[in-house]
Structures are given as structure tokens and as C-alpha cells.
């Protein structure tokens, strides 16, 4: 599904090129199909991603 609606960016955790929707905005959280990690969009031109801060209390106990 790598068409013009997606662009590539680097997974900061793994270094892999991953596809993200072309219309992502700064601040958006995107998961990586490679690492599964949640990544925050920190810039859009080009798209740069950083590891998203963990949302502590939304899971389990």
C-alpha cells in the first residue's frame, strides 16, 4: 500500500525506514509497523519521529 498517500520516515528506535500517512501533523502519535512503538511526529518536512513519552496509567492495574 505504498502509494502517494504515504511517505517514509525513520523509526528512531530501530533505524528502519517506515511508511507513515502523508498528512501527519506535528504532535501526532504514530505507531511503527517494525517496532510497534508509539512515535511522536516532531517535524513534518521531512517527517521526523521521536519515541513518544509512555502513557503510564492507561494499561492494566
Amino acid at each position: 500500500m505504498a502509494d502517494d498517500s504515504t511517505i517514509t520516515a525513520e523509526d528512531p528506535l530501530t533505524g528502519d525506514e517506515i511508511e507513515v500517512p502523508a498528512d501527519v501533523e506535528v504532535g501526532e502519535i504514530i505507531d511503527s509497523p517494525v517496532s510497534g512503538a508509539e512515535l511522536e511526529v516532531v517535524s513534518t518536512d521531512p517527517v521526523e519521529l521521536e519515541e513518544a513519552p509512555e502513557l503510564e496509567e492507561d494499561w492494566g492495574e
Partner: protein, 358 residues
């Protein structure tokens, strides 16, 4: 990790595009799994409002590694086949858009299963697109195979109705029942029937270890069964501790005498040529009658029966995986037939042994 493409065999044959509306739900996820492994489909779109832009593997861990992301159901791409796996009421609202987007629409909800607007007023809250009811074809191939080729709107059956109809069908086909008999159907189902958005009653501590009457009377699937056989069944559904599976035990009181041989003939006549129907009726070993875990993950329907001469009763057992034969598998099976593909394509998984409560 090089999982993209999964089990897809590239076989030179034609490839159709497919979309799944409601792809973040349980049956939607099962459709994605089946289409991902289907030799003739490529998934063009999976929709979710709550998980938009997430990868499909972030919700369905069995699809980890796929690059496809959920998109907005308001923006439908043009595809060959659209599968809708949304709650009751959504498809009837959006049916025009679905038909615009795809030549073939397969809906997994109850929205197009019944024949008339009146039935929707009796059993549901009416219908907003009754003009499609005439056109839609009920999916279950074992009862409706001839109607399916070329069908443009297919209504995949209810899981409990499917289990029941697979169990009772041969008795009607063989003339052992004619519609005025007493029939009690006692159903046991797993928690995936409730969909992904469960409430308090489906939390793990409350839902574990139960045998809980959850539809004592008046279950809506009665309407589908009545539609098929013209008989009103006494229907009661219990929730039990499994995730996948629907098991229907039909207690049937025929008018005249019936022998074990009559039963074997009836079931063999109906199902000998069916690729997904198996008869398990007595015999030795641990697995003598149909049971959900023997079909879990598969598109099989297992049926079996026993005679109770003292009470002039036939007991029929029927077991399916509600995610498969009871919804997504039935939908793909029907689509295969509608589109002239190999009937069993994408549905070959044989199931597991040993296996717990899948």
C-alpha cells in the same frame, strides 16, 4: 521480521481489491486475517474511527508487521469487494456509499438478513433502506449456494442462527421435520460474540468461568431461523467461558418415528459434498460429538445427533467458530462463490489439537 505478504501464494490468478469497514472490530479483524492470507484478495482499505492511522497490527497482534493503517470510514476507496463489519444499523445507513464504492458488498450485520421491512419492525427497530431487502442474498452457502453466484449484496448470517440452521437443516431437507414440531434450541457461546466493545459484564473477572443465561428468551436470531424453516424455535442462549465458539443443542420432537439410519441418511445427503461440513456422531475417543474447540479458527461446521427413544426426541449438536463459520469465514466463503473463486480459498486452516479455549 519479514511478515508482509503473510501466507499469500502468488498464483498468477486474478487479484481483487477488498476493503473492510469496521476493521478494528473482532469480525473485521478476522476478515483482515482471512483476506491477508487469501490468494485472490489484496486489502486496499481497513477503516476505524477510533484507531485511525494506526497499523492494523497495533490492534490485531496476529497481523503485526503489516504496513496497512486504519483509515476513516467516511472516505471509502473504490474496490472490487467491500466487507462491512459494523454494529447493527450502520450498514443500512451507509449502504448507498458502500454500493458506490464496490461492485460486491458483503455485510456481516443483521441489516440485510431478513426479507421484509415488517420483520425489522417486529424484531429490530425498523429499517432505513428497505428497498435493499429484496436484493440482498443470505450468505450461508450450505443453505443458499445457488443464490450466491453474481450476488451484489450479501447478508452474512447470525452466528447462533448459523449454528442452529446447520444442525436442523438436514432434518427439514429430509422431511423428518415439517415445521409444526416442538424444537428447543439451547445455545452456548463465547465472549467474542459480544464484539470488541464489551462493558462491565464482559470484563475478565466477571466473565470468566461462567455459565450465564444471557438471552433467556426472545433472541433476535430466532427471526432468521423462522425465516429459513418457517418454524418458531424455543431459543435460549448461555454465555460460557470460551472466546470463540457457538454450540447449539437442538432438542427436537418429530411427529413420527425416526431411526438412527434415517438420521445418518439425512445428514449424509445434506453434507456429503460440503467442503466445510463434518459429521461427528458417537464413535470412540475424546471427541465424539461436535464441540467448538474442534472447529476453532476454522470454517468448519461440525454436526452430530443422538436418538432418545424414551422421550421420542432427537438431539442435534452443532458447533462452529462464531468468528469464522458464524461471521467472517461465512462471509469470505460466500464472496468466493459470488465471485467465482475457488470455494475454499483462504479458508483452509484445519484447526489445532490440542487447544484450549481459543
Amino acid at each position: 521480521m519479514a511478515v508482509e505478504g503473510g501466507s499469500k501464494a502468488s498464483e498468477g490468478s486474478e487479484t481483487l481489491t477488498a476493503s473492510v469497514v469496521g476493521g478494528s472490530g473482532f469480525t473485521g479483524g478476522e476478515l483482515l486475517r482471512l483476506l491477508d492470507g487469501h490468494p485472490n484478495f489484496e486489502i486496499a482499505q481497513a477503516t476505524s474511527r477510533s484507531a485511525e492511522n494506526k497499523t492494523i497490527g497495533s490492534i490485531h497482534p496476529n497481523l503485526r508487521g503489516r504496513t496497512l493503517r486504519f483509515s476513516d470510514p467516511a472516505d471509502l476507496e473504490s474496490v472490487d469487494v467491500l466487507f462491512a463489519a459494523t454494529p447493527h444499523g450502520v450498514a443500512m445507513e451507509r449502504i448507498d456509499a458502500f454500493e458506490d464504492a464496490a461492485d460486491t458488498v458483503v455485510d456481516l450485520s443483521a441489516d440485510f438478513r431478513l426479507d421484509t421491512e415488517e420483520q425489522y419492525e417486529e424484531w429490530y427497530d425498523g429499517h432505513s433502506a428497505p428497498e435493499y431487502l429484496e436484493k440482498s442474498v443470505y450468505a450461508l452457502p450450505e443453505r443458499n449456494r445457488k443464490e450466491l453466484p453474481g450476488a451484489e449484496l450479501i447478508a452474512s448470517g447470525g452466528c447462533n442462527a448459523t449454528a442452529t440452521m446447520l444442525g436442523l437443516g438436514p432434518l427439514f431437507d429430509a422431511g423428518l421435520l415439517d415445521g409444526d414440531e416442538q424444537v428447543v434450541v439451547d445455545v452456548k457461546v463465547g465472549s467474542s460474540e459480544g464484539g470488541a466493545s464489551g462493558g462491565a459484564a464482559s470484563s475478565h473477572p466477571e466473565r470468566s468461568g461462567i455459565v450465564r443465561p444471557y438471552a433467556p428468551t426472545g433472541h433476535r436470531h430466532e427471526a432468521e431461523i423462522e425465516g429459513e424453516f418457517g418454524i418458531s424455535v424455543s431459543f435460549t442462549v448461555h454465555a460460557v467461558d470460551m472466546i470463540r465458539g457457538a454450540s447449539a443443542t437442538c432438542h427436537v420432537f418429530p411427529d413420527g418415528p425416526v431411526s438412527k439410519k434415517d438420521l445418518w441418511s439425512a445428514y449424509r445427503d445434506s453434507y456429503a459434498e460440503e467442503p466445510f461440513m463434518r459429521i461427528a456422531s458417537g464413535g470412540g475417543g475424546v471427541y465424539r460429538y461436535p464441540e467448538p474447540k474442534a472447529v476453532a479458527g476454522t470454517n468448519y461446521g461440525d454436526v452430530g445427533f443422538e436418538l432418545d427413544p424414551a422421550n421420542k426426541r432427537i438431539v442435534v449438536f452443532s458447533a462452529i467458530d462464531n468468528m469464522m463459520k458464524g461471521s467472517a469465514g461465512q462471509a469470505v466463503h460466500a464472496a468466493n462463490i459470488a465471485l467465482g473463486l475457488e470455494e475454499t480459498a483462504g479458508l483452509e486452516f484445519q484447526g489445532l489439537h490440542p487447544v484450549g479455549a481459543p
